[in-house]
Symmetry: D2
Subunit: 339 residues, 4 copies
């Protein structure tokens, strides 16, 4: 049984484990004030060619989303998200649990546009409704699509004009930045959003997300929020060491490229078999549409998620590749598809 279920089925890239071993007995300060974390933060700033941002290392996506969004908003303010957004669908109401409504918009491709946001603003006109304040987007999105630079520029400009915060969930940012048709660079992001995070968990780390706060007025006292939400690890070094390894020699991008390459092989192989896709995704999640019968056969040897019913006879499945996906497993899968 080989799993294409998600991008967190394995442990961590060996270099990361190696980093943990080598530093293991060095005594360090706790709670993210260790030298590894400080170095990792400096390194990421360097890679982004921006030393003005604040960076904090947290454990996971939901934790980062809830800590940041609740810190950024006042009680009456709400987040705007696509209806497919992770904060709306798959975080057990974590944002609402901090007191904030998530207002959603149905989209085709999991991406927001100024027009969509304008709709929400038009409907929220007075104090009997929440005040939409933070725009939540993901890159890559929950269905594998990515934002072009121009799209983010438009969003940024719209948000600035409407006094909205733009927050980017980068749980799969690596895969987005390494996609074939991507024209964004990591160093563009501080100019395009108010805050975002760089996902480690789904790109080769044991755990870890690097939250980047760009906007000045969102920075104050952020460590209080991390602590209050139970997100300040006593051994913060665990996060620092991993991000050091991920960015020291661009391992972060290397791993994302591998994941994308594996997804690309799958995509091309499936296309050769005239298999259609639910959405044209250039990242490490792809959504082929297969006859139910064939899906059942595949499930004997492969683990993956059946995403949605497509028609009476076909369903969409989700195949996810990762830094650890083996090329031979991909080839075998394609062989089995043909059979």
């Amino acid at each position: 049984m080989y799993s294409f279920k998600n991008d967190y089925s394995e442990g961590a890239h060996p270099k990361i484990l190696q980093g943990l071993i080598e530093t293991n007995l060095v005594q360090e300060a706790g709670y993210g004030e260790d030298s590894f974390t400080l170095q990792a933060i400096d390194l990421i700033k360097e890679k982004m060619e921006n030393t003005d941002v604040d960076i904090h290392l947290l454990s996971g996506g939901t934790q980062t989303n809830l800590t940041a969004i609740s810190a950024f908003l006042r009680p009456h303010e709400a987040a705007i998200a696509p209806a497919s957004g992770h904060i709306f669908v798959h975080e057990t109401g974590a944002i609402e649990a901090t007191g904030h409504k998530v207002v959603t918009i149905d989209t085709e491709d999991g991406k927001l546009t100024p027009a969509y946001i304008q709709q929400v603003l038009d409907e929220h006109t007075d104090e009997h409704m929440v005040k939409p304040k933070l725009v939540y987007i993901s890159n890559s999105t929950e269905i594998g699509s990515i934002y072009q630079k121009s799209e983010l520029q438009e969003l940024k400009s719209f948000c600035a004009n409407h006094n909205l915060l733009l927050f980017l969930d980068g749980a799969r940012l690596g895969s987005a930045l390494c996609a074939d048709n991507n024209d964004l660079q990591l160093s563009d992001l501080p100019n395009l959003v108010d805050a975002f995070y760089i996902g480690g968990t789904k790109n080769g780390a044991l755990l870890g997300e690097a939250l980047v706060i760009v906007r000045e007025d969102l920075k104050a006292d952020f460590r209080y929020h991390i602590k209050q939400k139970g997100a300040l690890l006593a051994k913060g070094r665990l996060l620092g060491i991993q991000f050091l390894e991920l960015f020291r020699d661009d391992l972060f991008f290397e791993l994302a490229e591998h994941a994308n390459k594996m997804a690309g092989l799958l995509r091309e192989g499936l296309q050769k078999e005239n298999i259609e896709f639910l959405i044209d995704s250039p990242t490490n999640q792809i959504f082929p549409i297969l006859p139910n019968e064939r899906i059942q056969k595949l499930q004997k040897n492969y683990a993956f998620i059946v995403w949605s019913k497509f028609d009476a006879e076909r369903s969409t499945i989700r195949l996810v590749t990762s830094w650890a996906t083996k090329e031979e497993a991909v080839h075998q899968f394609l062989k089995d598809i043909k059979a």
Copy 2:
């Protein structure tokens, strides 16, 4: 510079890192449903000779406290804690952030008794005040003291009679259970409290606390709460593998014993120098009272916390030992004290 600042200055016990390496490429389910976590849970139940409890693995103490306490209480219910309790002092209002007041009592030794709790109950008589519902205790306490079995029995009985929940913060449970005058066993705990956790972070793990829920009506839907609080790690295996290593061959107790032994050496060495202590602590935190001048000299070579002013010329310091404390460092410290 050698640090006696805390018990989380180093990484993890080498066996734990070895466990991570050996299992690294095994594909596993996410979110704590991996086979390592399931095995670890079974193993801990076995060690506790109790298969009726529910066990969940979380990342850190504050996270475990806030997730459990907010899951256990209704909105108007409050926790009762000693004024020195971690949830009151050092969690940035994490419990209050979930909506619950922490009612405190000043104690001598960081421990609650039925008499103390009765005082709180006497003062909270109607719906204009919160309803005290959960009794929060720590073992070992924040100042190193421990509960005897009979003390917990009295608390348990009092709580049962007054419809109160008894919750034990075991961030340093290992040290407590391995203390010289301790008469508690891990297997006693499910009979003595309604929920508690076994601290891994401060006893040799990179991170990790095992929350044990004993009381039946506190178990339902607990994974929802973990997820909602951002505490469900995608790679839950990271916690499972560590607890497997900690409990497979009783490494957990071995490490705590080492920490206690090192603290014992320090304690005895200091006593020989006629140094007094703020409190008689049998665990891995000790609180000697030293002349300010001598403290300053020590600070050149050792990191530790100056806990409180004792009198015009003396202060209390906190020395913490851990699974990783080197015996030669202890001897050197004692030598330096004499000098």
Copy 3:
């Protein structure tokens, strides 16, 4: 300028003011423990032929909804509501501010059915999503429609089978119970829902909603929740006296009948002019569709809300009548429509 804007444009029915005056200098206990409140509660129980329910008097609809729903739910549980539901649209995220997500369903007529709820249950399958627990309905709904007894029976039975709570927002319950085609009686409600409230504010009181808690396990400690949410009036008598007046001689029903009668006159008069309606509403809110030009003319002499655009040339307006609506104003409005 005459207002058909809402049902809270005037003060209170004169009998209610008279009640306040007559009792004004009687010294009474505070916080809802006065004799008037106790009498009012007994009287309402009597009218409902049910002495097992608990009744609490609160000030307004949003306050009642947020206090009840947050008291009834555990942190991970969510409310299910029609997308037109007041708690979702017009309460500034009050439910979310207490930590709970509101999951919505688009409906035609503002009413939920088992089939709609089943859809939500089908989509919420595990701990990565909130757990739907409370079904929120309004009667009459926000768009004037009402539930038939059989419809509530089906909902009740569905909820019981799926371990869901059924909560009815009765801000306009009077109008619903007095509608022409209504077959529900106040005394039916305790058998059909787990909790509901009887709206006073929109039916002749200065302020006041009577929350009726039917289900045994929702009753405990409810006064704590009222106090915690700032909803326990020091002079609770203000609520007690009003509900006494409303129910002593069935003034509550008399006032609702008047409101409905006035809406009926409007409806029939408009129908005679071949004016269509957005929805067939038998209660005190009606939604005629008028040419934009005519709307503008009417706005010179009448206040009302323009509800929505209907087509290029027409919009829907909302006309609301109340206990205080003057019949001559209705006739004048109909005359002006013709002109």
Copy 4:
């Protein structure tokens, strides 16, 4: 049985009821946008000789405290209060329910000073603890004492220097401003605190507190918070009309003077009998110390609260007078004391 239990045992001053009757059928806008509310706000601003403040009318003290404090604070910020403060003792954890810790200080007289606050600041040094941000004081205090102008000036200056907000709970502000040794005027308050409220409920209104927000950065979007907390009355006129009556001809001060006068008569009468007081209170709450036996006799004809045990034979009782207290009842009480 005559009650000295509190200052909310009766309804409202007749002029207020008269105001309600006279305006009853005027159609007005809902939700505090009616002309009465607008006039009342203008009138209060005029009385304070300050048109820069924002004023909002709410229903009760707990509601006002929780709405204001939760609107003013970010999630990690806490309130500082005397241990006798209403928000700490008698609001069922309402502030904590909005996510904020209340840090308390034991005081002799229920009043805070810069020295007390400095203590709290000294203890809250980093992100492992909440950040104290808002100083909560009451005038008059919960035990009847009042602030002198110079005391508020010192607090204001200290708060300004330490980036703290100063919030004054004025549930009994009338009584404070009309006390014999008071040197504060209503018009001083906007210069001395960042926000405060003028209590109507305990000074002759049916319900109602006028929240005055002075500091510019606390004003934005405040109506959203009122609505979200369930505190925006549909018939906001009920509050507007009452405050119009209270301030039109200085009825507010007249009523407070009466209450104080009645308390003064009681105080002097008791002093003549050589009865001691727990605290020297110049306002409408006094705290005489009486033999338990005498208390029991008095309880046959008078309702009041037994505040605390004083010694083996004596207890302190609380006597509260109000706008409605009858002078003959006071004389009779004093007569009965002598007997």
